[in-house]
C-alpha cells in the first residue's frame, strides 16, 4: 500500500475576512429591521469575539446580548419617531438584568455553564460527491447538505493525475426560491410539513461540479499550474448530483419534537418557573411561596440594587454594557452572600435550573445525533459537452469516454459522546458503451465507512474534526470505459481497489469556512505520476452559516 496524496487546504483567508468585515460598514438598520434581527446580530457579534470574551462575560451573555440589542432598538426607533416602540424597548433594558434571576444563579456558581452547539455539526456534505470527480476530498459522502447553498472549491485529484480544480455548487431549490421570495431565509423557520409537496421538495438538493482544468479557455487546461479560474465555459461542467433526504430529523425545531418540548415545559420548566418566582418574591417583596410576609431585611438592599442597575444601564454606552452588568452581578452576589436565607432559596432555584437545562441539552444532543438516510444520483462527465475528452499531460485517450452514473445510499448515525459514523453503498454504470464493446454496463460496486471524531475546542476556532475512512471498490470493467494510457501505463485493470484516508477538518469560527487536510493511501496508484507527496489548496464554504449572520 502506497501513499497516494496528501491534501492540505491552506486557504487565503484575507479576502474572506475582508468580505465578512464589510458587514460592519453596511448601512444602519431601520427600527423595523432591528426589531427582527438585533438579538441574533448581537449573538453573532459575541460569537465573533467582539465582546463577552471573559468568563464572566460568557456567563452573563444572555443579558448582555439582550441589553445591547434593546439599547440599539430604543435608540433607532426614537430617532425614527417611533416613540412607543422606543419606550417599550427602553423599559425592557433593565428587566433583562434585574428581572432575569436565572442569569445570576449561573453567575453565583450554582450551576454549570450551558453547553453550546454552535458550529459543531459536521455531518454536512458541501464538496462534490460525484465518485469520479476531480478534486473531491471525501471518500465517503455525508448524509446532510447545507439547506441553502453550498459552495466548495477543492483542489487536487484522487483518481487522475492532472492538477484539476473542482468547484461544486449545491442548493436546495425549495430554500433558494423561499430565500428569494421572502428576502429572509431563516425567518421562515424549519422545514415545511412532511407529506406536503413543499415537504418533499425541501428534501431535494442539486449540485453541479465545475472543473476549472477543463475546457477551451487558455491557461486553465489540464496540468496547468495557473490559478483556478472558472470562466463559465460549459465544457468545464464535470458532473452533477441530485440528492434526496429520505430521513433527517436533526433539527430540534422540527415539528416531530413538539411533544418533547411541551413535556419539558410542563415538568422541569414549570418547576423552574415556580422556584424562580419564589426566589423573586422573597427577594423583591419579602413574601414566601404562598404570599405570606416574612422577615426580609434584604429587600431594601435588593431594591436599591435594582434601581442602581436600571440607572447605570440607562446611562451606559453600548460598549460599556458588559462592564456595567458584570459589576452589578458582583454586587448582587454580595447581597445574596450576606443572607443565608437567600442563599438557600437561590440554591433550590439553581437545582431546578440545572435539571431543566440538563434535560433540554440532552434532548438537543440526542436530536442532533439522530440517524439520517439519503439517496444520491450523480453523473460524472468524462468527456466535454462537445464530445471531446479533456487530456492530461502524458495521457493517451480514445476519441470518447462514456459518462458515469452513480447510485448511492448514505446512512449516518451520531453517538452521544460526539463521534459520527457514515456509511455509503453504491454502484456505478456506464451511461453508454463504445460501438462494438463487449463490456457490461455495470462498472463497479462500492462501499465506504467514515468515522468523524470531534476534537477539543481550541480558542478562536470551532471544533476540529478528525476523520478516518475506508473505501472498497470492486471494478467489474476497465475504470474509464475504454483503454486509456496515463503516464505510460494502461489504465484498464479490473479487480479490487482499497483506499484509506485520514482527514483533519479545521472550521474557521464564525466564517462558514472549513479547511480540510487529508492523507490518502491506496493499493492502486497507476493514475499518479509521482510517488511523492502532493500539497493542494482548497476551501469548503457553507453559506448557511453566513446567511444566519447579519
Amino acid at each position: 500500500m502506497r501513499m497516494v496524496s496528501l491534501r492540505v487546504a491552506l486557504i487565503a483567508l484575507i479576502p474572506l475576512r475582508a468580505c465578512l468585515g464589510a458587514a460592519d460598514t453596511q448601512p444602519q438598520k431601520s427600527c423595523e429591521e432591528l426589531q427582527k434581527t438585533a438579538f441574533t446580530d448581537e449573538i453573532a457579534a459575541a460569537n465573533d469575539g467582539r465582546y463577552s470574551k471573559s468568563n464572566t462575560g460568557a456567563v452573563l451573555r444572555a443579558a448582555i446580548v439582550n441589553v445591547r440589542a434593546l439599547k440599539k432598538i430604543a435608540a433607532r426607533c426614537a430617532a425614527e419617531g417611533k416613540a412607543d416602540v422606543a419606550e417599550q424597548a427602553r423599559l425592557s433594558i433593565a428587566g433583562a438584568v434585574n428581572a432575569n434571576f436565572a442569569l445570576f444563579l449561573e453567575f453565583l456558581g450554582y450551576r454549570q455553564a450551558l453547553s453550546d452547539l454552535e458550529e459543531k455539526r459536521f455531518d454536512k456534505q458541501v464538496g462534490a460527491s460525484t465518485s469520479g470527480g476531480a478534486g473531491t476530498t471525501s471518500l465517503t459522502t455525508k448524509g446532510s447538505v447545507p439547506s441553502l447553498l453550498g459552495f466548495a472549491v477543492e483542489n487536487g485529484a484522487m483518481t487522475r493525475s492532472v492538477s484539476g480544480t473542482t468547484i461544486t455548487f449545491r442548493a436546495v431549490p425549495w430554500d433558494v426560491v423561499k430565500a428569494l421570495a421572502d428576502h429572509d431565509y431563516l425567518a421562515s423557520g424549519p422545514t415545511p410539513q412532511p407529506g406536503t409537496l413543499a415537504g418533499v421538495l425541501s428534501q431535494v438538493s442539486a449540485a453541479v461540479s465545475v472543473d476549472a482544468s477543463r475546457g477551451n479557455t487558455a491557461g486553465s487546461g489540464a496540468g496547468s499550474t495557473s490559478s483556478s479560474v472558472v470562466p463559465g465555459d460549459k465544457q468545464q461542467v464535470s458532473g452533477y448530483t441530485f440528492h434526496y433526504q429520505i430521513l433527517d430529523r436533526r433539527d430540534p425545531r422540527d415539528i416531530h419534537y413538539a411533544r418533547l418540548w411541551n413535556t419539558l415545559s410542563a415538568r422541569k420548566g414549570l418547576d423552574l418557573a415556580n422556584r424562580l418566582n419564589q426566589l423573586a418574591a422573597l427577594m423583591r417583596a419579602g413574601v414566601d411561596a404562598v404570599g405570606k410576609p416574612v422577615t426580609a431585611p434584604w429587600v431594601p438592599d435588593f431594591e436599591a440594587w435594582r434601581k442602581d442597575t436600571a440607572n447605570k444601564l440607562e446611562a451606559a454606552s453600548i460598549d460599556d454594557v458588559e462592564k456595567v452588568i458584570s459589576a452589578q452581578a458582583v454586587t448582587f452576589k454580595k447581597i445574596v452572600a450576606t443572607y443565608p436565607e437567600l442563599q438557600a432559596q437561590a440554591k433550590v432555584a439553581a437545582e431546578a435550573l440545572s435539571e431543566y437545562f440538563l434535560d433540554r441539552n440532552t434532548g438537543i444532543k440526542k436530536i442532533t445525533k439522530a440517524p439520517t438516510l439519503a439517496f444520491d444520483y450523480s453523473v460524472t462527465r468524462q468527456a466535454n459537452t462537445n464530445g471531446t475528452v479533456p487530456v492530461a499531460a502524458g495521457a493517451t485517450v480514445p476519441a470518447s469516454l462514456p459518462d458515469l452514473s452513480n447510485f448511492k445510499l448514505i446512512f449516518a448515525k451520531g453517538f452521544q459522546q460526539g463521534p459520527e459514523l457514515t456509511a455509503n453503498a453504491s454502484f456505478t454504470i456506464f451511461n453508454s458503451l463504445p460501438p462494438g464493446s463487449t463490456a457490461g454496463r455495470l462498472r463497479d460496486g462500492q462501499a465506504s465507512l467514515q468515522l468523524d471524531v470531534p476534537l477539543a475546542e481550541i480558542a478562536k476556532t470551532s471544533n476540529m474534526v478528525l476523520s478516518f475512512s475506508g473505501q472498497f471498490v470492486r471494478l467489474l470493467e476497465q475504470p474509464l470505459g475504454a483503454a486509456v494510457i496515463v503516464n505510460t501505463k494502461s489504465v484498464t485493470a479490473k479487480g479490487n481497489m482499497g483506499l484509506v484516508q485520514a482527514k483533519l477538518t479545521v472550521p474557521v469560527k464564525g466564517s462558514g469556512v472549513q479547511i480540510p487536510i487529508s492523507v490518502t493511501w491506496s493499493n492502486r496508484t497507476e493514475l499518479i505520476l509521482e510517488r511523492d507527496v502532493r500539497a493542494n489548496f482548497g476551501v469548503t464554504f457553507d453559506l448557511d452559516k453566513l446567511f444566519a449572520k447579519p
Binding site: 427582527k36 434581527t37 438579538f39 441574533t40 446580530d41 449573538i43 451573555r61 444572555a62 446580548v65 439582550n66 434593546l70 423599559l91 425592557s92 433594558i93 433593565a94 428587566g95 433583562a96 428581572a99 432575569n100 436565572a102 442569569l103 450551558l114 452547539l117 459543531k120 455539526r121 429572509d184 431563516l186 425567518a187 423557520g189 424549519p190 430540534p252 425545531r253 419534537y257 418540548w261 411541551n262 415545559s265 410542563a266 420548566g269 414549570l270 423552574l272 418557573a273 415556580n274 424562580l276 418566582n277 419564589q278 423573586a280 418574591a281 423583591r284 417583596a285 413574601v287 404570599g291 435594582r306 436600571a310 435550573l353 431543566y356 437545562f357 438537543i364 436530536i367 448557511d544 452559516k545
Partner: protein, 119 residues
C-alpha cells in the same frame, strides 16, 4: 395598571390583568409559573405560538402579586437561533391605561419576573 418600571406595576384593587405571550416562530417554549398572591383565571397555557392568561388583583391594598416566565429558545441543528425568533409579552390592566409590551430575545436562559402591587 401603571408601569413603574419594565417589570414592576401598580394595579387597582381587583383590577383584571391579562397576560399574552406570543412567540414569533415555532416552537414556543415559554413556561409561566403559578401566581403568588392571586390565582390565574385562566393560567397562560401554550396553544401553538400563543399563551394567554389573566388574573384579578387582590382586594387589599399593598398586596403583592408575582409571576415568572421562563423563555427558552430551541436552536437549529447548528446551535443557531433564527433572526426574529422572539417572545412578545403583553401585559395590560384596564383598557384605558398603559400596556406593557416586552420583547425577549435569545440566547437562553431568559427569565422575567413581574411584580404587581395593589394601591
Amino acid at each position: 395598571m401603571h408601569i413603574v418600571d419594565g417589570s414592576t406595576f401598580t394595579v387597582a384593587s381587583q383590577e383584571h390583568v391579562t397576560v399574552d405571550i406570543q412567540k414569533t416562530t415555532a416552537p414556543s417554549l415559554a413556561t409561566v409559573s403559578g401566581l403568588i398572591g392571586a390565582a390565574w383565571a385562566p393560567k397562560p397555557a401554550p396553544a401553538g405560538l400563543v399563551a394567554q392568561g389573566a388574573f384579578d388583583a387582590p382586594l387589599a391594598a399593598n398586596s403583592i402579586v408575582t409571576f415568572t416566565v421562563v423563555f427558552d429558545f430551541v436552536p437549529d441543528a447548528t446551535g443557531s437561533f433564527l433572526p426574529g425568533d422572539e417572545y412578545v409579552v403583553t401585559i395590560c390592566g384596564r383598557p384605558t391605561e398603559p400596556t406593557r409590551v416586552e420583547t425577549v430575545g435569545p440566547p437562553p436562559p431568559q427569565t422575567r419576573t413581574y411584580l404587581f402591587t395593589v394601591v
